[in-house]
Every structure is written in structure tokens, then in C-alpha cells.
């Protein structure tokens, strides 16, 4: 499946773009997505374990399956306030 992923903050700077079009196997999980991201952008390797995932505006963990029509985002730990 093809999905568009939003990225933010430090991660956006490392990758050089706020959106990514990615191709994943059907039924791929959050961890699969992170693995794919790391393969394409090895510069994020040291940050991977801190990265947060969301789907349709809710946090998800690495085991959650990605829905092909969902809004998916990856970002560093938040620092608002």
C-alpha cells in the first residue's frame, strides 16, 4: 500500500521534508514503517527509539497495523508549553 506520512520538528529537518510518500506491505505495522524509514534515511538511526507514531491524530505503538487510508505521522518527543 502507498501511504503519505507526516514528519515534524527535528525529524523533518533530518529528512529534509514534512511529508513522505512510502510504500509498505498490506498489514504493515508501525515498527515496519519505522524500519522502512530508517532504511531510506539512515541519518535517523540514533533517534529511532525515541520517535513517536500517530494514526488519525492518536498515538499508536509499533505493533499497531497501519491503515492505508489513515493520516500517519512520525515525530520526536514533544516539547510544547
Amino acid at each position: 500500500m502507498n501511504i503519505r506520512v507526516l514528519v515534524f520538528a527535528h525529524l523533518k529537518e533530518l529528512i529534509g521534508s514534512g511529508t513522505l510518500d512510502m510504500t509498505l506491505d498490506d498489514g504493515a505495522t508501525g515498527n515496519d514503517l519505522l524500519h522502512e524509514l530508517e532504511t531510506s534515511f539512515p541519518q535517523i538511526k540514533t533517534h529511532r527509539k525515541y520517535l513517536k507514531l500517530s494514526m488519525n491524530g492518536e498515538y499508536i505503538d509499533g505493533k499497531t497495523s497501519i491503515q492505508h487510508d489513515a493520516e500517519v505521522a512520525i515525530f520526536p518527543p514533544v516539547s510544547g508549553g
Binding site: L6, G57, G80
Partner: protein
């Protein structure tokens, strides 16, 4: 009641949003850009938000605060973009019949905002250096 703005926050307006005749107490929290972080002189903070999710998470904080504490209303305004020293990045206002839950809910709201609302800040120092910040002290290395 929940908004992300790109201009200076009007504190009175945020307070006005929680005003109800039943309220005997209003507490507010204002987060501001400080002039120093450790030894480094800060020029400004730059905030970035994942807008739709940030609003959703602020709404959740508000609902949870009303469930947990005996309060009337809560309003949260977060600013994004450049925020200079002494300017406010976030304003939270809570109204309640009595002061104790108003304080508790206000502190709960800012504590939880700093944990779950997808907004990030980058510090720009007067010496030209820039650094992304993590609220979690264990992640300062990021």
C-alpha cells in the same frame, strides 16, 4: 476553547472564555520564553505544531481535567512561530467554584500538555546556535 495562534496571546481573552457566574476562582498558567537556558543566552523560541492532532490532544486534556477535578471550564491557547523572551507561548485558564480544584486542574493541564500535545520548540541562542528541545529530561541528548 482550544486554539493554536501565530500571534501574541491575549491573556484576558483566554480568561474571558472560562468566565461563568458560578466561578469563584480562576487560575491561569502562562508559559514564557526565558532569557537563559543554563549558561546560554536565548534570543527566541520557535514553535512548530502538528495542528490537527495538537487541538485533539488539548481537547482531551480539557475533558480529562473536567472529569478529574470539580471545575467549570478550561481554555488552552498555544502560540507557534517565533516567541521572543518575555512573550507567552502558552496560556491555560481554568474556572471553578473553589480554588483548590482550579489550581489542580491548571497544573494537570500544563503537565499533560508538555507530555502529549504534538508541539515542538527550537531554541535560538544569541550566539547563533539552534537546538531542538525535549521536555522529557531523559531525552535532553536528542
Amino acid at each position: 476553547m482550544y486554539e493554536i495562534v501565530e500571534h501574541e496571546i491575549d491573556v484576558e481573552k483566554v480568561i474571558a472564555r472560562v468566565s461563568v457566574p458560578e466561578a469563584g476562582a480562576v487560575t491561569t498558567f502562562i508559559g514564557l520564553t526565558r532569557n537563559f537556558t543554563g549558561e546560554m543566552k536565548v534570543e527566541l523560541l520557535q514553535y512548530e505544531a502538528y495542528h490537527s492532532m495538537a487541538i485533539k490532544m488539548m481537547e482531551r486534556i480539557g475533558l480529562e481535567a473536567v472529569e478529574k477535578y470539580d471545575i467549570r471550564k478550561i481554555a488552552i491557547t498555544h502560540r507557534i512561530g517565533d516567541v521572543a523572551v518575555e512573550e507567552a507561548s502558552v496560556v491555560i485558564a481554568v474556572s471553578a467554584s473553589h480554588r483548590k480544584p482550579a489550581f489542580q486542574a491548571c497544573e494537570y493541564a500544563i503537565d499533560t500538555l508538555k507530555e502529549i500535545v504534538p508541539i515542538w520548540k527550537k531554541e535560538s541562542m544569541t550566539n547563533g546556535k539552534q537546538k531542538w528541545i525535549a521536555n522529557d529530561p531523559d531525552l535532553k541528548k536528542l
